[in-house]
Symmetry: C2
Subunit: 89 residues, 2 copies
């Protein structure tokens, strides 16, 4: 099975925490939590809460940050930072 990607948006924090935990309890070994812009802080919170819930089973083997070009209105592009946090059981 490949990585399950959980993309962080405007839903409540615990919605994403439960999504992460559900992936692990259903047998997956690796989950990716991704977020852009202002949601990056929330992604870190989600990972920390999930990690505490399943501690010490979950580790964070890799964290990546970067910039993505988003195409907005009138076809203008803008740069948005992203984070991608991998969680391993």
């Amino acid at each position: 099975m490949g990585d399950e990607v959980i993309f962080v948006g405007k839903k409540p924090l615990m919605t994403y925490v439960l999504a992460v935990l559900t992936q692990f309890t259903s047998g997956r070994n690796e989950v990716l939590v991704k977020a852009r812009g202002q949601m990056i802080s929330k992604a870190v919170d989600i990972v920390q809460v999930a990690k505490r819930r399943m501690s010490p089973e979950i580790s964070i083997p890799n964290i990546e940050i970067g910039t993505e070009e988003l195409r907005g209105k009138e076809n203008k592009t803008r740069n948005v930072s992203f984070i991608s946090i991998s969680l391993k059981r």
Copy 2:
């Protein structure tokens, strides 16, 4: 020389970007950018902008996330996520 730590707060983004670049141009080889809570997203933006400005000279050898206990009013503690991004020239 040890790491220079730049702690991200409420100042404008470019203030921190310039602080990072100043450290590197003054001869330092490693700079740590740290942030807590909502400032985490901003820290990622700062690192990305600084990286673009000095690309390809700067790399990101390590990113750490975690939880800190802060003691607030009435001596209550609350958990806050943090990020620590190391930049290397």
